[in-house]
């Protein structure tokens, strides 16, 4: 036990003394969250919209004027019928179409109720949502102006149609994605480099000649990084809540539980990588290529898995972060409990156990 503590203490010293490690460990997640957060939810100005005006009356014209005047929108074209819409969307010349039905003003003034249809290109879900919100604000502004000289309250409803991505996947989904990415990357990279470094420096030989159990070498490498990863997780979650205003809908304990599973899987992968290579550059490269790419490609947080070719979908199943991503999305965003994620959790736990056992078994006790 005392040996273990001496070792863990040493590991922490390595981390805290190396500015590069510290930067990677804590700078990376912060940068990722802020970058993804702001790149995806930034204000949008002068976005092209098209209008299809079947009404051509007072109300539709004044709303179109408001659109024209708005900083957020650039009126790309006003069309008479909707057959052209798809063409314009396909050319990527607009992100949103606003459709006024015929009798717009009449329904509004006499019936007190009407609808405006918005068609958005949801392949970029964040832009789509933001544009809808802008237009909503604009409509509310119009209504409150008109309300002053009307007896009856008016109500314009939005009827939304998202094309290309009807579920609007991806709005808040990037946080679980970044969590998976950062935890995997940091843990795999850190452990593999930390172990390979000892091989490179020759200190591994000294450790293996000492009575210190090689199994303990693994444990002492894993514990500090497990601890630091949990700190990292707290940082990511805090940033999501306080900077990106994301609410954590489900149980935090559950969230940490599955995250520790993923961290352990990642640490085992790091140990495995350290077994197959003897220098830090290779370890780093394998970690980046082996972790970053599959996580980006296959977890579904950048590209929807349902749209992938069958065999890529099969591959995505063997990647631990895919399951982690599903679990975190369900817990954090949808607020679901354990009963709805136990299957995915079981798969992830199975993968973690498997990787942990293989890495301990494979860890080379002897140099040759």
């Amino acid at each position: 036990m005392k040996q273990l503590l001496a070792f863990i203490h040493k590991e922490f010293l390595h981390v805290f003394r190396d500015p590069k490690t510290m930067l990677l460990l804590f700078g990376l997640p912060i940068a990722q969250i802020l970058l993804f957060g702001f790149a995806l939810s930034n204000e949008i100005n002068h976005s092209n919209v098209i209008v299809i005006d079947y009404a051509k009356d007072v109300a539709s014209r004044s709303i179109i004027e408001k659109v024209r005047a708005s900083e957020n929108f650039d009126l790309y074209d006003v069309l008479d019928d909707h057959h052209m819409i798809e063409e314009v969307f396909k050319r990527g010349e607009t992100k949103m179409a606003i459709v006024f039905p015929s009798n717009f003003n009449e329904d509004l003034v006499h019936g007190g109720y009407t609808e405006v249809q918005l068609i958005t290109d949801a392949s970029d879900p964040n832009t789509a949502t933001t544009l809808v919100n802008y237009f909503n604000m604009l409509l509310l502004g119009y209504q409150s102006e008109m309300y002053q000289d009307q007896q009856m309250p008016m109500n314009i409803q939005l009827s939304l149609r998202n094309i290309y991505n009807p579920e609007l996947e991806g709005t808040t989904n990037f946080v679980p994605g970044v969590m998976a990415l950062v935890l995997l990357l940091v843990c795999v990279l850190m452990t593999s480099v930390a172990i390979v470094k000892e091989k490179e420096l020759g200190t591994m030989e000294i450790l293996l000649v000492s009575p210190f159990n090689p199994f303990m070498v693994i444990i002492s490498k894993v514990i500090p990084y497990l601890f630091l990863s949990i700190v990292n997780l707290i940082v990511i979650l805090a940033l999501s809540v306080f900077v990106l205003n994301l609410e954590i809908a489900g149980s935090i304990i559950l969230l940490f539980g599955v995250s520790i599973l993923l961290i352990l899987a990642a640490l085992s992968l790091g140990i495995l990588i350290s077994n197959v290579t003897n220098n830090q550059q290779t370890a780093m490269l394998i970690s980046l290529m082996g972790m970053l790419l599959p996580t980006l490609m296959f977890t579904g947080f950048m590209f929807p898995i349902e749209n992938m070719p069958k065999f890529l979908q099969v591959i995505s199943n063997i990647i631990p972060s895919t399951w982690y991503y599903i679990i975190v999305k369900n817990v954090m965003i949808k607020g679901l409990g354990f009963e709805s994620i136990w299957k995915e959790s079981l798969i992830l736990a199975g993968m973690t156990t498997f990787l942990l056992l293989v890495s301990i078994k494979k860890f080379k006790i002897r140099l040759s």
């Binding site: 001496a6 070792f7 040493k10 390595h14 420096l201 200190t203 000294i206 000649v209 040759s368």
Partner: protein
Amino acid sequence: MNSQKMISTRDLTKTFGDFVAVNNITFDVRQGEIFGFLGANGAGKTTAMRMLCGLSIPTSGEATIAGYDVYKETEKIKQNIGYMSQKFSLYEDLTVAENIRFFGGIYGLKNGEIKARSRELINALDLNDQKDLLVGSLPLGWKQKLAFSVAIFHHPKLVFLDEPTGGVDPVTRRQFWDMINQASEDGITIFVTTHYMDEAEYCDRISMMVDGYIRALDSPAQLKKQYNAESMDEVFYELARGAKRTE
């Protein structure tokens, strides 16, 4: 079991595929001896030494270290040996004191012991002003001396030194050998590999490995007499020039 023999090997062999790295070596090292393990590059020294340290399992043959079997009792062996590798092997990003504490810690020494011994060690090496400096900032000679002191910090019965003086200046090499002699007087058996023939002269006995075999084993004086040579250099040349294996 003869306690006088620190190392005892019988036909110890290590093969990698078809390649016989170490070929039936048989030798004994007595307790308290300074034993020089010589050979050209690629002769099989490091492989032999790794088997003796428990880092590598022999293909065949027998060996005991401090009376413990290299196949079955590697844990016991590890408790009783020290090892200094040819690469510098302290942590450069830890201070002198932290390195000592760490290695004391993994050998399971008690805190009080570690404190007392490190004070002693730091005084002996005259490192009082440097003990809180990172090891990386020390000159190579000091690093090597520190690495040796750390290798015998847990008072092993036997210490393996793999080319401990590579790259250091003659004055430091001399001081280093003073430390080796001191350790030997304190009862630690020394097993050392080197390429410097003047260092071979400091050994009680030396063995010469050529192409995986031990070709000669005796005291330096005897070897010079046997090969009718003026210096160990000539003995080495005489033996090693027939070598087929080079690195």
